[in-house]
């Protein structure tokens, strides 16, 4: 709501009481407005969600479609599965590397680019541009750029003696490399969220700080950062939610290797279903992802509500 002008907000506050009688009278026919969407939503989201949960209680072969009920056995097997533990750990590592980098880099960019003028706009557009590229183009470009010896990165780093590093083929480096490529790809959205938040800090706060002859660093830590605290948390949670689901760029850059060192949870789900053909086990793993998401999204909604109440 705060995205609209204050005049609009004021206008809607005044007559609200008289409206209830006429416009908001309950009529079953009004449900026709929401019916087309709700019908599709029930059929293509809620129903598959229930079905997925039901399938996770079965042993179910994708090709023969044979299945029998086994209760919670799939979930019990997941707990004992070392491979599943590894993909969970990989996903967690990916989140732990990428989310802090996302927050710090996008905040730094937003602070530096929060200025009027053409150059600022041009630079904002540049850092956002890669976000519109599809994942296959991003991975194609970076597979080429990260080739040992012949790739762009190797050539740039050759003077440092890093010309022959296998960025995507080393067990230690593969996952962090993909995380950094992901940051390069979609840094635009968090940067824009920070820019929007910066625009909302009242200018007089900074003017007062300037009059007090506060140093840049002091102004930043005492004024700007506290005003941004909630946005920092929001960006962290949004990226957490996105990166928990990480999959296509890993599949295309390293295919989960080397030696499973970069294989994430979502790829495990996909492969259990469409390579191992065991739908029950795959959907059980997907319920784990759903549970993680529920926690993350609840956190995000809570943060957004707090922010709105403050505004």
């Amino acid at each position: 709501m705060s995205a609209l002008s204050p005049t609009l907000d004021a206008a809607m506050a005044a007559p609200a009481r008289g409206v209830d009688t006429g416009l908001r009278r309950s009529r079953p026919a009004h449900a026709l407005f929401v019916l087309p969407f709700v019908g599709l939503y029930a059929a293509l989201v809620l129903w598959p969600l229930l079905q997925g949960f039901w399938i996770s209680l079965h042993e179910h072969d994708l090709l023969s479609d044979e299945h029998h009920f086994i209760g919670l056995e799939n979930f019990a097997n997941l707990i004992d599965d070392e491979f599943f533990a590894q993909v969970l750990w990989n996903t967690l590592r990916f989140v732990m590397i990428s989310v802090p980098v996302f927050v710090v880099v996008s905040l730094a960019l937003a602070l530096a680019l929060n200025r009027p003028g053409r150059l600022g706009a041009l630079l904002r557009g540049t850092f956002f541009a890669a976000s519109v590229l599809s994942v296959t183009i991003v991975t194609l470009v970076w597979r080429l750029a990260l080739m040992p010896e012949r790739g762009l990165v190797s050539q740039l780093l050759a003077p440092l003696g890093l010309g022959e590093v296998g960025w995507l083929t080393s067990e230690r480096l593969a996952l962090p490399t993909v995380a950094l490529v992901t940051v390069w790809w979609i840094i635009g959205l968090p940067m824009m969220l920070f820019l929007a938040a910066l625009q909302q800090i009242p200018a007089d706060v900074h003017e007062a700080a300037a009059l007090d002859n506060a140093s840049r660093w002091r102004t930043f830590t005492a004024v700007t950062l506290p005003a941004l605290a909630r946005t920092v948390a929001l960006v962290a949670v949004i990226e957490l939610i996105r990166e928990c689901q990480v999959f296509p760029q890993i599949m295309l850059l390293t295919n989960g290797g080397p030696n499973n060192s970069s294989r994430p949870l979502a790829q495990f789900i996909y492969e259990q279903a469409f390579v191992q053909l065991s739908l029950g086990y795959a959907t059980a793993a997907s319920q784990v992802l759903f549970a993680i998401m529920l926690v993350g999204v609840s956190l995000q909604l809570w943060l957004e509500r707090e922010r709105k109440e403050r505004a």
Partner: protein, 291 residues
Amino acid sequence: MSTAALTPNPTAAEAGAPARSGFDRAVMALLVLLALLWMLPLLWVLALSFKPNEFLMGRTGVFLGGPYTLENYTDILGTSMVFRWLANSAGVALAQTAGVLVLSSLAGYGFARTEFPGRKLVFVLVMFGLAIPSQTLFIPLHRMFAHAGLQNTFAGLVLPGLAGPFGVYLMTQYFRAIPAELEEAAMLDNASRLKTFLFVILPLTLPAQATLAIFTFLGAWNDYLWPLVIATKPEMYTLTRGLASTQTNFAQSEGLGFLMAQAVFAGLPVLTVYLFFQKYLVSAVAGTGRR
């Protein structure tokens, strides 16, 4: 110093310290450098896509000069199915965008501005959908669609994208913020509810429609997981899915120049659209952040 005081709405960066100091200039110079570095992989691929494959076997360090050729691009046009994939992607993305706009506008209005039995419960159920990841749905969805014979069909590619609740969330928020007086006046003139919606309220939501259209189009254009499982025949691939299939035999037969030309060819349409719509996209993203 005086500039900061005179500007009606100075930004944080300017007001925070004596304006346009040497520090400011140094930061900007650094940022320009960083931006160039940021774009370097794309420029490198663009430059090398115009060089012969045999030349690239030897060295890839040369940006400018050296032999030029268009053979990599003519190879794409002649041999692969990219045009088919491009058309599929455009069709799917446009159909999904149109569908989402219509469905979300209707539902958003219904939830925000009308009352009917069970409205609150249904709304909560729909918002619950924001927390459901696509990886939890795609296996049962794939089964449903396979049973219904929708694999490798246009409808199969488009339909799941229409049921996402983000658009309804966005439009409901937006409809809520429109003053009720406008609607009341129209209703007093005995206009029907549908007419009021179509001719009075809907035109006011154009900015939100633009935001939603951009997000939906980009999301559909870049989707990977669903086309991966629902389109198994190459002629039904989307561009994103199709390019992935050509990457599996990476750096073997086709040559670096060909791969680079492919990346350029596939990336250029979106980047061009981005250049034209940049202003709207940037304000759209900022708008959702403020919500």
